[in-house]
C-alpha cells in the first residue's frame, strides 16, 4: 500500500519520463496506481492549452531590436568625430603647457627672524665692499650712502 502523495509524485514523474526503472516496477505493482493514473491523465487532458502563437513578424522584430540596440552601442562616426577632436585638443594642451607654478622670490616678511639678522649682516658687508670698490675706481671720494 503506497501513500497517496507519494503515488501521485511517482505518477507525475512517470508522465515526464523521470521515474527510475526500479520505482516504475514498484508503481506497476501498486494496485491503486491505475485508478490514480487515469484520474491524473483525465485532469491533465481537461486543461485547456493555449494555441496562441506570436505574431508572424516576431523573429523579424527581434532581429530589428537587436540590430538597433547594437547600433546604439556603437555611435555613428558623426558623433564620434567631434568627441575625438576635442579629446585630441585637450591632450595637446595638457602635454604642451607647463601648469606647475612659477618660482617666486621668497618675501622678506616670510623669512624667519633669526635668518633676517644674518641677511642684514651679509648685506652690510656687501655694501661696504661695494663702497670701497667704488671709492677705489672713483677719483672723487663721496659718501656712498648719500647715493
Amino acid at each position: 500500500m503506497m501513500n497517496e502523495k507519494k503515488l501521485e509524485k511517482w505518477l507525475l514523474l512517470e508522465q515526464t519520463g523521470e521515474l527510475s526503472a526500479k520505482k516504475q516496477q514498484t508503481l506497476n505493482a501498486c494496485p491503486e496506481a491505475e485508478a490514480k493514473r487515469s484520474e491524473l491523465n483525465a485532469l491533465c487532458a481537461a486543461v485547456s492549452l493555449s494555441d496562441a502563437e506570436p505574431s508572424s513578424w516576431a523573429a523579424t522584430r527581434i532581429h530589428a531590436r537587436l540590430k538597433t540596440e547594437r547600433r546604439s552601442l556603437l555611435l555613428p562616426v558623426h558623433v564620434w568625430q567631434p568627441i575625438l577632436a576635442l579629446a585630441a585638443c585637450l591632450t595637446l594642451v595638457v602635454t604642451t603647457f607647463d601648469f606647475t607654478p612659477k618660482s617666486f622670490p621668497v618675501p622678506v616678511a616670510a623669512v624667519a627672524v633669526g635668518e633676517a639678522d644674518v641677511w642684514n649682516v651679509q648685506f652690510e658687508e656687501d655694501l661696504m665692499e661695494l663702497e670701497s670698490l667704488i671709492l677705489a675706481i672713483s677719483d672723487d671720494s663721496f659718501d656712498i650712502i648719500e647715493m
Binding site: 515526464t16 519520463g17 523521470e18 484520474e39 481537461a46 486543461v47 485547456s48 492549452l49 506570436p54 516576431a58
Partner: protein, 202 residues
C-alpha cells in the same frame, strides 16, 4: 534513435543555430523562434495581459537570450528561455508592487501576489468552444500562488520535465513536485462537482 541522443542532437542544432546567428545569419534566429514559439508563447500568454503584451514579452525574452548568449550554459535552450521568462515575470511583478518577493503568498495589505498577476485570458473561441471545464481549470489556476501557478503551466503548457522546472525556479526537484501537487490539490477543490464528474468519466 534513443530519446537522450535525440535531445543531444537538438541541443547541438540549437547551439549551431545560435552560432550561425551570431555570425550574421539572420535566418537562423527565425528557425529558433519557430522551433520554440508554441510552448514558450503559450506559457507567456497564460501570464500576460492579452496577445500584444504576450508578444512584447516573447520578443523581450529572445532579445535577452541573444544578448546574453555568452552566458548560455544550460543544456536545453528551451529551459534557458523559460528561465529568462521567469526572471522577466519577477521584474514585472516588482515593477507593479515594489519590495514583494515572488515566493510571498500575500502582500502586507492582504492582496495575494497571484491577484496582481494578470489572470489568464481565454479568447471567445475557447469559451464558446465547449471547453467549459478547461475554462474553469484556467480560472482556478489563476488563483494559485505564483510559484505553484508557474510550475503548473511550465509542466502543462511548456511541457517541461520536473528537472527542467527545478532549474527554471532554482529549487530542488522535490520542491517543484510538491508545488505541482499543491496546485493539483487546489484545482481539485476548486472544481468540486466538476472534478467528481471528471473522475467518474475517467
Amino acid at each position: 534513435m534513443k530519446a537522450e541522443e535525440k535531445t543531444h542532437s537538438m541541443e547541438e542544432d540549437d547551439a549551431k543555430l545560435l552560432a550561425a546567428y551570431r555570425n550574421g545569419d539572420s535566418e537562423a534566429l527565425g528557425l529558433l523562434v519557430e522551433k520554440y514559439k508554441k510552448p514558450l508563447f503559450g506559457f507567456i500568454y497564460k501570464f500576460s495581459e492579452g496577445r500584444e503584451d504576450a508578444d512584447e514579452v516573447f520578443q523581450e525574452i529572445w532579445v535577452r537570450a541573444i544578448k546574453n548568449m555568452n552566458r548560455y550554459r544550460q543544456k536545453s535552450l528551451l529551459s534557458w528561455l523559460f528561465r529568462i521568462a521567469h526572471n522577466l515575470m519577477i521584474d514585472r511583478i516588482r515593477r507593479r508592487k515594489p519590495m514583494v518577493s515572488f515566493d510571498t503568498s500575500a502582500s502586507e495589505d492582504g492582496v495575494a501576489i497571484g491577484e496582481m498577476l494578470p489572470s489568464s485570458r481565454l479568447g471567445p473561441d475557447d469559451e464558446s468552444g465547449g471547453h467549459a471545464l478547461g475554462v474553469r481549470i484556467d480560472a482556478a489556476a489563476a488563483e494559485l500562488p505564483p510559484d505553484q501557478r508557474e510550475v503548473f503551466w511550465l509542466r502543462m503548457q511548456g511541457g517541461l520535465s520536473f528537472k527542467e522546472i527545478a532549474k527554471v525556479q532554482k529549487c530542488s526537484i522535490n520542491t517543484a513536485l510538491a508545488r505541482m501537487q499543491y496546485a493539483l490539490s487546489k484545482l481539485r477543490n476548486e472544481l468540486g462537482d466538476e472534478y467528481r464528474e471528471l473522475q467518474e468519466a475517467g
